[in-house]
Every structure is written in C-alpha cells, then in structure tokens.
C-alpha cells in the first residue's frame, strides 16, 4: 500500500475525522437541546419526623433527637435505589462510602418530580408493634415530591409495615471521596 501521507490517504482521514466530528456535534447539539435528564436527586434525606417505636431518647423540647431516620437515594437517571436506616443524630452521613458495598433494599423510579420506592427496611432497633414481628425486613413503600431546583427537600409518605408516616426530609448531598477519584 502507499504511504499514508499521500493526498488520497490524507483526504480519507480528513473526511473520516470530519464526518465523526460533524456527527458528534449534531448529536450533542440535539441532545443538549431536546433531551432532558431527570434532576440530580442523589443524596441522604434526613427525615425530620420521628417514627413511632424507634429509639428517640428522652430529650428536652428544642433539642435534637438521639436518632433519626435517613433515606439514602442512589440515582441512575430515572432509576432509583435506596435504603432506609436509623442513624445516630450526630453521625456524619455525608460520605459516599457509607453506602458502598451494600445492596440497596429499595428500588423505584423518578417521574415528573415524583419519586416512588418500594422494598424492605432493616430497622432492628425499632419496636414496630406486634403485627411487625420481625424488624429485619419490613415491607416499605415511599412516595414523595421533590422540592427546589436543585433539589433540597423531599416531602411525602412512607408506609412501613402497618405504620404510616407523613414526612419532610432535608437533602444532604453526598460528597465524593477524592473529588473525582
């Protein structure tokens, strides 16, 4: 074959690289203009309301509870996964690694500002009544609306076994470990 510095070859490479550049520009222009991805809802949602039967500790009015419920949402576009856990109020929940290596127990979707999640919750520390004899895999559904742009709050209702809770939760954005590493 001839050298690739010949005009014919150079023309071929020019056309090839030009074509792919044009294709990419057209694709990205179309995507930027017409495709809308869901908002970023990744994060830890610190639920303000206490759940009856879960440890709260005796604390005077105006002070914070010893424990609180946290809904961890891991987003992959419209597909959501999550976990509902009870954490100590003072613990740092903002680390990405807190959910690393764990299998999320909730699955669901984002749709037009609404989220739905269903699955189970492991709340061994809570006494949720006789009807929920085992607390290691209680059926759980969460439905809520996202507030703010970017999202700062979640309001909605969760049904945990036979217990229902209307809640508001503040979003805590998950920090990545090493800024891009």
């Amino acid at each position: 074959m001839s050298s690739h510095f010949q005009p014919k070859s150079l023309l071929f490479y020019g056309v090839m690289i030009g074509s792919v550049t044009i294709l990419f520009r057209l694709t990205s222009a179309y995507g930027e203009r017409h495709l809308k991805a869901p908002p970023n809802v990744n994060g830890h949602y610190l639920i303000n309301e206490p759940l009856v039967g879960c440890p709260e500790g005796d604390y005077p009015k105006g002070e914070t509870a010893s424990h609180r419920l946290v809904l961890v949402i891991q987003q992959s576009g419209v597909y959501l996964n999550g976990t509902l856990t009870l954490v100590e109020a003072e613990s740092d929940t903002s680390q990405e690694n807190a959910s690393l290596g764990k299998q999320p127990s909730l699955t669901g979707r984002w749709q037009e500002g609404q989220i739905t999640l269903s699955g189970t919750a492991d709340l061994a520390e809570c006494q949720l009544g006789a009807q929920d004899s085992t607390n290691s895999a209680i059926p759980l559904t969460v439905a809520g609306s996202l507030i703010g742009e970017p999202v700062t709050e979640l309001t909605g209702q969760l049904t945990l076994g036979s217990t229902e809770l209307t809640f508001t939760a503040e979003r805590e954005v998950i920090e990545t470990t090493l800024e891009g590493h």
Binding site: S2, V20, F24, T27, L35, V41, S99, L100, Q103, L178
Partner: protein, 718 residues
C-alpha cells in the same frame, strides 16, 4: 477493631481471593486479569453483600473504604506507568499503513455508535448535573477502548507475536491505546468543566505538557538510560528518582485537570526503551503492583459494581444494547477497515475479535467516569459487564476464527515448505519435547537415529515450550516473549549442530513456542503436525513413589499419538539394541522403532530376547511382526538374533541382558497408567534397574505406519 487492622484483613482477603479466582480463570484459558476483576465483583454488593450482608458490612465498613481507595489509586498510577513502559515503538512497525487506518476506523465506528447510544441512555440513566456532551463523549470513549496490555498477552499466549495478524493487531492496539487515552483526557476535561469551550485551556495545557515530556523529559530520561548502561544495574537511588518522577508527573496532570493516570502513563511511554533498563524496572515494579495493589483496585471497583441494580428485563435489554454497540462497533469497524486494506476474511475477523478486548483498561476508564459522576452506578455496572464479556469472548472467538493449526500453517518454516514437494503422508514425523536443550542432547540424537538420514523422508521437531506461569507480567509481552524464544532457538541450534551424522542435522526443525500447559500443548501440536511419534525424556521423580503425575504421565494420558519414553544413561553409541519381548502392541511398536534405527545404521544389531520358564513357553512373535520380518532386506535380517533364556524372573533376565547393550527397548505393560504406575509395574521397575539406556514405547494408534517411509514395500499394519 482499628481501621488499620481491618484494612489489612481486607487486603488479605482481596489478594487471596483474586489469586484463587484468577487461577480458576487461567484454567479456563482466560486471562488471569478477568478472574481478578470477577473476584473484586464477588467481594462487593453483587455477591458478598447479597449473601452475607452483615459479614460484608463488618469486613468492609465505610470508614475503611477511603484507605482502599488511596491504595488502589497508588496501584493504578504505577500500573499505568507499567503500561506506558510496555508501549514499545517496536510495536508500531508492523504494517503501519494498514494499522493506522484500521485502528482509527475501529475507534471512530464504536465512538460514533456510542454517541448515538447516548441519545437513548442519557434521559434514562443520567441526570441533569451532567451535560449531554460530556455524557456522550465519555460513553463514546468507553466504547472505543481496546486493552493493549490484555491483547498483547493474548497474542503471546496464542503464539501470534511472529505472525502477520499478531504484529498487525499489536500495532493497531498501540495506536488505539494512545488515541483512546487522548480521547479520554478530552472527555474528562469536558466532564469537569461541563462544556467544550471551558475545557479548551485544560486541553491546551495537556498538549503542552505532552510536548514537554516528549522533548525535555525524554532527553533527561535518556541520560538516566546512559547512566544505567554505565553502571549496569538499577540502583535504589535511580529507582527512587524514577518513582518520584512517576508521582510528580501524575500530580502535574491532576493539577492540569485531566487525571493522575495520564502523567504516570506518559512518563512510562517516554522512557527510553533501553532493553535492560526497561526489563529491570518492569520486573522490580510489577510484582508488588500486580500482586498487591492492583487486586485492591479491582476490589474497590467491585464494591462499586452492583449487578443487583439490573433488576428488570428492560434494564437487561439496555445492557444488551450497550453490549451490542460495543461489540458490533469494534468488530464491524475493524473488520471492514481490514478488508478494505486487503486482509483476508479470516484475518480481518480475527483482528476484529482481538480489538474487541477491553479488559482492565476499560475498568480504569469506568472508575474515573463513576468518580466524576458522569456515569451512574447503573451504567457503570452495565459497562463493567460489557468489559468482562468482551474480554472473556476474545480467546474462544479467536480460536474459532483462527485456530491453532491455522496459526501453525501461517508460521510454517521455509525448511518445511520444501516438504510440500512430496506426499506429506510419506514423511515420518517425530516430536521431541525438550525442556532443557543443554542436557537433552541424547534424546534428540535418539530421535535422529529413529528418523534416519534421508532428507524428505523424516522430520524431527524438537519442541521447546516456554511456560509463562503468570500472564500479566512484563515477560509475557510479545517483544519480551520473542527475546526468550530467540534465546531458546539459539540453544536448540547449538544442540542441532552437535548431532551426528552431520547429514541428519537437516532433518531437525525446532519449534519454540509459548505454552501454559506443556502436556496439553504437546498433544495439540502432535495432532496438528500429524506426528507419528512423540519421544519424551524421563527422569525418575525425586520423591518417588513412581506416580503418574509428572509431565511424562500427562503426555502419555493426553497424546493421541504413539509415545516413546527415553531414560538416558548417556551411552555414546547406538549399536546394540535389546528388545525383551512380551507379545503385545506396545512391544511391537518397540520392535518397529528398533528396525528404523537399524535401517540407517549398518553397524546396529538387534537382540530380541524371549524368556522361558518351567511353567511358561516363551512369547511368540506376533503374526504381523513375522510378516514384516519376511519383507526385510537380508542384510537387515542378518543383524537380528532371537535368543531364548531360561529364567523364572523375566525382569531380572532383561536387566541382566541390558548390561551388554546400548539401548533396551521395552513396550509399556498392559496396565500402564493405572494404580499410580506410569508405565506399568514391569516397565517402571525396568526404568529403575536397567543397566543401559532405555526406551519405553506406548502405542496409541494401531494404524500409524512406522516402517512405511523406510520400507516402502512393507505392508505392516498392526
């Protein structure tokens, strides 16, 4: 438990499991690295976290993960340095014209398809904090990757390094590698700034730094190389300064805004490819990096891989689409470009499958993408599956499109081409596995004696298989493998030149190859080359219970060819042969080989010893052998004697008779290979007590005509 104790426990578990699973995959003829990646995934939520969530949470608590991450990043930096170090300009010499075109098309097609796939995936699996441009650029880059290090090792393993396909694939992959890293750097820059325009300064600085490294950095490193040549060794001070350079370069690219790994890769790539320095540096660096740090990277990556996220048929369909675009884009792009450049259909297809290997390189790219948030956990998992599938399928598909016998045909030696002039069926072929050319001259000399001296009637192939126990080391790179092969070739040539008579040297054509399983490869080559006989040397095991378990036992069990096992007692001559005769097919093979030796050596005499005792008549020669005897030329027949000894102990009689001969030939006992016996009780005992050199024969094929090529009128067919 303190964090350090937990991290050390994790490291123990990670290294142990990755070795174990890696070796499991090796036995499936897959690259070790796939097993290590799978081991990492097993430790994450996909298996360990699913089966034993409590134990997984205890072993991998959140507070220890940053330590694993840092260790894995350090491992990655030095691994990328090794990849750069292995990128030898020598790989850019094979059919550069075809390679540049093929590799660019093999990037452009999957990149374009990846960008189009982004139109489907972006609204589904991304979020609005990532711009579409960054998402599409990253997905396109991920689709265009070819893992040069994995591909290079697959090529070595399949002994393709000397073939047209192998050199072409290496050149393509090297060009691909450099292009894909540049593309990835651009994707990272765009992701971090979320726009093409804002990424321009980063890209300009990156280009300036590359230019600086290629000019100033390279000339400085050349001085280091000269210093190494002067001292002849890589001192700790020199090593320390190179490692400091690696870390400094990684830091610079991180500050510029691309990624740590580029700096390390760049320093490795611009290192002068001084053979000695490169080898010593790679060997000193790779052991710790590959066995300790890299598995930690796989484990960290595995902790982030959640196959459980693919929990609906729709998501598996999306995963299928990702696979289809990745495989189709790479394969079709490479295949079409190869065909346009004039490659044959089979070569272009094999090249397509080779370029489809993504392996570890893809995993590095995906982890960067996930850390930057440009790809979501779900897409990360899909792409990890894609990386595993594309790497896993390479070896079987390569074998399917370009099987080992076709590779052998493409590598056929000029000396063998002459053989084509006569009927190949008339050529008597002996395959001689030679582990150590310097100590096995007697074995090859015997093969030559069996082959005869007539050119074009027989060929002896001394087979030297180089075992690379670990497949991700520097030694398994094609250039390094070629060096080892050349060294072994030279040793075998020395051996061949010492053979007598000189005229027989032209019959000997060595085969030197890379092989993992000596017995299996020997059996395969014997089958491909249609060998009539495999002649193998044997030493009594050091810790003997004489068990079937060494290489000889494995070859006997796997070779679908007649096998002769030679126990060398270093006799200088080959003039007195003894066959202690018991009627069975293995002994008949021994007699045939004895006749072959006699045909080419007029001074050679054969004694066929039979033993009689009070209660037992001596064995009768088989009908087939007697009919051959009648067809033998008179001068040959006159050199054969048939004494009958009175003895109650056949073995003792054979041992006694062996004192006065140069070579004793005995057929394997009928019970060979069972009851932990290699060759049967009698032959095993003979191997120990025989006073001369010993040849033990085991017939596999009842139709191999060992005498046809020397006695054309012989109608012997056992």
């Amino acid at each position: 438990m303190s964090s350090i104790v937990l991290v050390l426990l994790q490291v123990l578990l990670v290294i142990g499991l990755s070795r174990l699973v890696g070796l499991g995959f090796r036995s499936l003829r897959q690259p070790l690295v796939i097993g290590e990646i799978v081991a990492g995934i097993m430790l994450g939520p996909s298996l360990f976290g699913l089966v034993a969530p409590e134990v997984a949470a205890t072993l991998f608590p959140p507070e220890t993960i940053p330590f694993l991450n840092i260790l894995s990043q350090v491992g990655l930096i030095f691994f990328m340095f090794l990849i750069g170090l292995e990128l030898n300009p020598r790989y850019l010499q094979g059919q550069l014209e075809v390679a540049i075109l093929t590799s660019h098309v093999s990037i452009v097609v999957p990149f374009s398809l990846g960008a189009l796939l982004a139109l489907l995936l972006y609204p589904l699996v991304s979020n609005d904090s990532v711009s579409f441009t960054a998402f599409a650029l990253f997905l396109g880059s991920a689709m265009s990757i070819t893992a040069f290090p994995v591909l290079a090792r697959i090529i070595t393993e399949n002994n393709l390094q000397g073939s047209r396909l192998g050199t072409l694939a290496l050149t393509c992959a090297a060009v691909d590698d450099v292009t894909a890293w540049c593309l990835l750097a651009a994707a990272i820059a765009v992701t971090r700034t979320n726009s093409m325009i804002a990424a321009l300064p980063t890209l300009i600085f990156s280009a300036l730094y590359i230019a600086f490294m290629v000019t100033v950095g390279r000339s400085f490193l050349k001085r280091l190389s000269k210093h190494y040549d002067r001292t002849g060794k890589l001192t700790q001070s020199l090593l320390a300064s190179i490692y400091m350079g690696v870390v400094a370069s990684a830091l610079i690219t991180e500050v510029i805004g691309i990624h740590l790994i580029f700096g390390a890769f760049l320093l490795g790539a611009v290192m002068p490819k001084n053979d000695g320095l490169t080898r010593e540096l790679a060997l000193k660096t790779e052991d710790f990096v590959l066995t300790f740090l890299l598995p930690i990277f796989f484990a960290y990556s595995g902790l982030r891989t959640q196959i459980g996220l693919l929990n609906t048929p729709g998501l598996w369909l999306l995963c299928g689409a990702v696979l289809l675009v990745a495989i189709g884009g790479k394969y079709i792009g490479t295949y079409v470009a190869g065909r346009v450049c004039g490659l044959q259909q089979r070569e272009a297809s094999a090249l397509g499958w080779l370029m489809n290997t993504r392996g570890l390189t893809e995993l590095i790219v995906l982890n960067i993408g996930l850390s930057l948030g440009v790809i979501s956990p779900l897409l990360f998992t899909m792409l990890v599956i894609m990386a595993l599938v594309t790497t896993f399928m390479t070896s079987p598909l390569l074998e399917w499109t370009y099987s080992k016998d076709l590779i052998r045909q493409d590598l056929v030696e000029p000396a063998e081409i002459a053989e084509a002039a006569i009927d190949p069926a008339m050529i008597y072929r002996i395959l001689v596995p030679v582990a150590n050319p310097s100590t096995q001259q007697g074995l090859v000399q015997l093969a030559v004696a069996i082959a005869g001296t007539e050119p074009l009637r027989a060929v002896v192939h001394p087979l030297n298989l180089i075992q690379l126990d670990q497949d991700y080391v520097f030694e398994s790179m094609p250039a390094e493998a070629e060096r080892i092969v050349a060294k072994q070739q030279a040793q075998l040539q020395e051996l061949i030149q010492s053979l007598e008579p000189v005229s027989a040297q032209s019959l000997v054509h060595p085969i030197v190859r890379i092989g993992h399983d000596v017995a299996r490869e020997t059996a395969l080559i014997a089958s491909i080359d249609q060998a009539d006989l495999v002649l193998v040397g044997w030493h009594r095991p050091a810790f003997s219970d004489n068990r079937l378990g060494g290489r000889v036992g494995q070859i006997l069990s796997t070779a679908k060819t007649d096998v002769a096992v030679f126990v060398d007692r270093h006799s200088k001559k080959l003039e007195k042969l003894l066959v202690p005769y018991i009627a069975n097919i293995h002994n008949d093979l021994g007699l045939e080989l004895a006749l072959r030796i006699m045909v080419s050596n007029p001074n050679c005499y054969l004694t066929i010893l039979r033993v009689a005792s009070n209660d037992q008549q001596p064995s009768e020669l088989s009908y087939e052998f007697r009919s051959v005897m009648q067809q033998l030329p008179t001068d040959l027949r006159d050199r054969i004697t048939f004494p009958v000894l009175e003895s109650s102990d056949f073995l003792q009689a054979a041992v006694e008779a062996s004192k006065s001969v140069d070579l004793t030939i005995a057929g394997a006992s009928r019970e060979w290979g069972i009851e932990r016996q290699t060759l049967g009780y009698y032959t095993d005992q003979l191997a120990v007590h025989c006073q001369s050199s010993l040849l033990i024969t085991r017939r596999y094929s009842k139709v191999t005509p060992h005498l046809t090529s020397i006695l054309p009128y012989s109608s012997y067919s056992p």
